[in-house]
């Protein structure tokens, strides 16, 4: 079947097998930030945006993205960097494998809610598993980032 979509702003139109998962389609198009950590929509590593909203691409047929705009971390490098520096300051990236999905969902949170409290942060990101960090360093990084944003983003 034919699939037409925008990937990180670039139009793509091509033939795909109807059962192609969005995750595999994206990785085949060079978006290697999209990771597969499970096959059961539990880990959040494959999070990408569909029309700006986070979805799990491992459980999403590429066909469903037809006519939509898909964004991966490759397409959000500048927006991400501002935030991720705060995670790096904690050393909370650790092995890094869960980072892209976590960063995508965190950016989605910040877009929806510019001043989330701790409960809202934990709730929004509950589906993003991390086995290295114990989440505490990620939380410190998020809080520091939000604090910095509140102060107007100056260093």
């Amino acid at each position: 079947m034919q699939l037409t979509l925008h990937l990180n702003g670039i139009p793509i139109c091509e033939e795909i097998a109807p059962d192609t998962l969005l995750l595999d389609f994206l990785r085949a198009h060079g978006c290697k930030s999209v990771k597969r950590g499970c096959e059961t929509s539990n880990c959040g590593l494959c999070t990408v945006f569909l029309d700006g909203r986070p979805i799990l691409s491992c459980s999403f047929l590429a066909a469903r993205a037809d006519g939509h705009a898909v964004t991966t971390l490759e397409g959000l490098q500048e927006e991400a960097k501002e935030f991720t520096a705060f995670i790096a300051d904690q050393g909370a990236e650790q092995c890094g494998f869960c980072n892209p999905g976590f960063v995508m969902n965190a950016l989605a949170l910040f877009r929806e809610n510019s001043d989330p409290d701790e409960t809202e942060i934990k709730e929004y990101l509950a589906g993003n598993l991390c086995r290295c960090s114990g989440y505490e360093g990620q939380l410190r990084g998020i809080k520091n980032f939000l604090e910095w944003k509140k102060r107007g983003g100056a260093s």
Binding site: C38, T40, A126, Y135
Partner: protein, 765 residues
């Protein structure tokens, strides 16, 4: 210190956070054979017939291999990655006619893409001769059914292994007369504790890709902690010389010991060696959960004897360990259940440790952070908490009275001296951090919920005494920047950065001026690999020595340029200065000179091994809220004080501790492994196997109470493993203090808490 003990950003942090393609599956060529495995549905069976004809003829299929392609009377091997001679019995074949657990490989299929390989897997017809299976590890020893009846099974080391008794290992160790001491104790407590075969659950699944290089050699790129051991294992499995193999690791998406076993490299290696084509195998999460290398399930019988005044005089421990179908890490994990638990107590008159490690028809176990110490510490520390209750003593007071101190000889820890220890300070700190005196033992919150607190201590090692080898090679490049080559594996822990910090400290430069390369068997200096909490302590010391030696070479070349004696110059990291006349040359000038008409190599290489393994220590305390009606349990806060010697990078040490603590909490509360009656693991996905989410934990707070270990680089000991151990006893005790029941099998699920309450009420009425 300028760079050591500083919270430097991890060198790869921004690349990882930006989602750059740095892992095995990102780097594998687009054009490569996809390798998958057909797995046994039976826990114990012989392959009576296997028909692969249709699969082999299927479109896109390159090759199908079965036991018929592997000499069944050949030399067996183990997948465990430890120093040779490997203590784990040599009990595997690449493909075996005898399959020994649900998930044991039956056939390897390689083809053009996943779709055709999946199809071909379904086309293979297998007739099994199903055999009786050994499923209960308590009945495995001397069971009439043998997991390894074969004649070519082999144990290279004297570990008490005997395949005709289902024994992977058997050991005994003691000091003093335990029975006599226990007979004179006021209180003797005897308990049994049971832990499960928990999964490391690193986020990146096992994976590797293989190709044939320019020289006709097999090039393996794998997510492994052990490049050198992996080369040896693959060579033995394929029956080819080690010189024909190169193993390289890119970034690793977490290991926690899982990747100290070469779980899957042999399969794509075999395909590529046979076909001479590039191939790749990436495990599914289901394979990671059902056919990998989890923790050894253990049952521990503890007898502990004390006087009424609280003096703990004897500990007697028997550990039964379940290695599953194969013996990876079986003989070596079990000892830690005693060495690293009993040794926390320094006033013992006697101890005894006996162990059996048995084969069963379960998934093979392997190395998981803590490596037996986690299980043993859960048992012994819980027994000490139970003892405190029996003595009517505060468990912290009981520990203050009995713990091992700096300067003690640790008789259950290979007789090594305790050269650096701040365990007393760790306990005092944790007591304060959690507000022990106000909260112990519990507080009724008035809404059906009760909050209890509990404590646990832990120790681990820093590398394996007299065994682990760490090496570092350093060189000066143009403009004077340095390259550090290592064979240790950064699996997210940050060792690339930590080792660069150590080099930068000695060389008096910034961390950015030290680039790090590793690990690659062709290019890295030999290193045992990153396991056993060895990298900071053992490899770190090698880096310190290598950097010190390189300073001398820089000075030698600088002195030659300045025309003076090497003894007459000094180096401040930037310039070599002639002390006699004040003339100097910069590091960049020396670097340039080293590349023109030079005969002094600006390179140094150092190999280090330490005869002892100074333990890091830790105290941890949990505050847990238990809903008495539903059994729901939440860790409100977990506090810990860690003595890892000097934390080389306090940020990374802290995150190691926080992450390890949450893994320990997961093991205590939610991470379960159960089997159905056919021997299948039920928790085969992240849907069933519950690792903690960020909503499952209140807060974790970690502080450092550092001792100074003279044998380590700048006073450092290890951090990676010790941090997983305290939550098991601390959370168990906190739950007891909240609801009045001791739970002696993990995980402590809400169901068990409710049933425990009902049982308690029954007894009291």
């Amino acid at each position: 210190m300028k760079t050591v003990n500083q919270p430097v950003q991890k060198k790869d942090a921004m690349q990882l956070l930006g989602g750059q393609p740095v892992y095995v599956n990102d780097l594998a060529p687009e054009e490569c054979l996809i390798v998958k495995l057909l797995r046994s549905p039976h826990p114990n069976a012989l392959i009576a017939e296997i028909d692969t004809e249709a699969a082999q003829r299927a479109a896109g299929i390159e090759a199908v291999y079965t036991w018929k392609d592997v000499p069944q009377d050949g030399v067996r091997f183990t997948l465990a990655g430890q120093t040779w001679p490997e203590p784990s019995p040599q009990d595997r074949l690449l493909l075996d006619r005898h399959v020994r657990f649900v998930g044991d490989p039956v056939a390897i299929v390689a083809g053009r893409n996943e779709r055709c390989v999946d199809r071909a897997l379904r086309m293979i017809k297998v007739k099994y001769e199903v055999l009786d299976a050994v499923l209960d590890f308590r009945t495995a020893k001397d069971h009439p059914v043998l997991v390894h009846p074969e004649e070519n099974w082999e144990a290279l080391c004297d570990v008490g292994a005997d395949n005709k008794r289902n024994l992977c290992a058997r050991d005994a160790d003691q000091k003093g007369d335990v029975d006599a001491v226990l007979a004179t104790c006021d209180v003797v407590l005897e308990r049994a504790y049971h832990t499960k075969a928990c999964q490391q659950t690193m986020m990146e699944p096992f994976g590797a890709f293989c190709s044939i290089d320019t020289y006709g050699r097999l090039h393996i790129v794998s997510s492994t902690q052990i490049v050198f051991h992996c080369r040896r294992i693959v060579a033995k499995a394929l029956g080819i010389p080690k010189s024909k193999i190169r193993v390289e690791k890119p970034r690793i998406g977490g290991g926690f010991g899982a990747k100290q076993t070469a779980v899957m490299e042999i399969y794509p290696a075999f395909v590529t060696w046979k076909t001479k084509k590039t191939s790749k195998l990436i495990f599914s999460r289901k394979e990671c959960m059902t056919a990998s290398s989890p923790r050894h399930e253990m049952e521990m019988q503890v007898r502990i004897g004390a006087m009424k005044n609280g003096h703990i005089r004897a500990i007697d421990l028997y550990t039964l360990s379940n290695t599953g179908a194969y013996g990876e890490h079986g003989p070596t994990t079990v000892g830690l259940s005693a060495h690293k638990s009993i040794s926390l107590y320094g006033k013992l008159d006697a101890f005894r440790f006996e162990s059996d490690v048995v084969y069963t028809n379960r998934m093979s176990a392997g190395a998981y952070r803590g490596y037996g110490a986690t299980q043993g510490i859960y048992a012994v520390e819980t027994a000490v908490n139970e003892l405190a209750e029996q003595l009517g003593m505060d468990p912290i007071r009981l520990r203050e009275q009995n713990i091992v101190r700096e300067g003690d000889t640790m008789m259950a820890y290979y007789g090594e001296p305790n050269t650096s220890c701040a365990l007393d300070r760790c306990i005092a700190r944790v007591k304060e951090m959690i507000g022990w005196d106000e909260k112990y033992p519990c507080r009724d919150m008035g809404n059906g919920k009760v909050r209890g607190v509990g404590i646990g201590l832990a120790m681990q090692g820093s590398g394996i005494s007299g065994v682990d080898v760490g090496s570092a090679a350093l060189k000066v490049n143009d403009e004077g920047f340095y390259t550090l080559r290592i064979g240790a594996a950064d699996m997210g822990t940050g060792c690339d950065t930590i080792l660069a910090q150590i080099a930068a400290e000695v060389l008096e430069c910034s961390v950015d001026e030290v680039t790090v390369f590793g690990a690659d068997t062709d290019a890295s200096p030999y290193d045992s690999g990153s396991y056993a909490s060895s990298t900071t302590f053992v490899t770190g010391k090698a880096v310190e020595y290598a950097a010190t030696e390189l300073r001398e070479k820089i000075c030698a070349l600088g002195a030659r340029m300045l025309g003076c004696e090497a003894q007459a110059v000094s180096f401040d990291g930037e310039r070599v200065l002639c002390e006699l006349d004040g003339r100097s040359v910069s590091r960049a000038e020396i670097a340039s000179a080293s590349q023109c008409g030079n005969t002094i190599a600006l390179e140094s290489s150092y190999t280090h091994s330490c005869p002892t393994s100074p333990p890091p220590f830790m105290a941890g305390a949990a505050e847990v809220e238990v809903d008495l009606e539903t059994g729901e349990t939440q860790v409100i806060q977990y506090v810990a004080a860690v003595d890892c010697g000097t934390p080389v990078n306090p940020n990374l040490a802290r995150v190691q501790a926080e992450g390890g603590i949450l893994q320990g909490i997961g093991m205590t509360l939610t991470e379960n492994i159960t089997y159905n009656q056919d021997g299948k693991v039920l928790e085969n996905s992240l849907m069933q196997y519950k690792i903690p989410t960020r909503q499952d934990i209140g807060h974790i707070r970690v502080e450092f109470e550092s001792s100074y270990e003279k044998l380590g680089p700048f006073g450092a000991k290890s951090i990676g493993e010790v941090v997983i151990n305290t939550p098991l006893p601390a959370v168990t005790a906190a739950i007891h203090n909240a609801c009045g029941v001791w739970f002696r099998e993990l995980p402590i699920t809400p169901e068990k808490i409710v049933l425990g309450q009902m049982e308690k009420r029954k007894i009291s009425t």
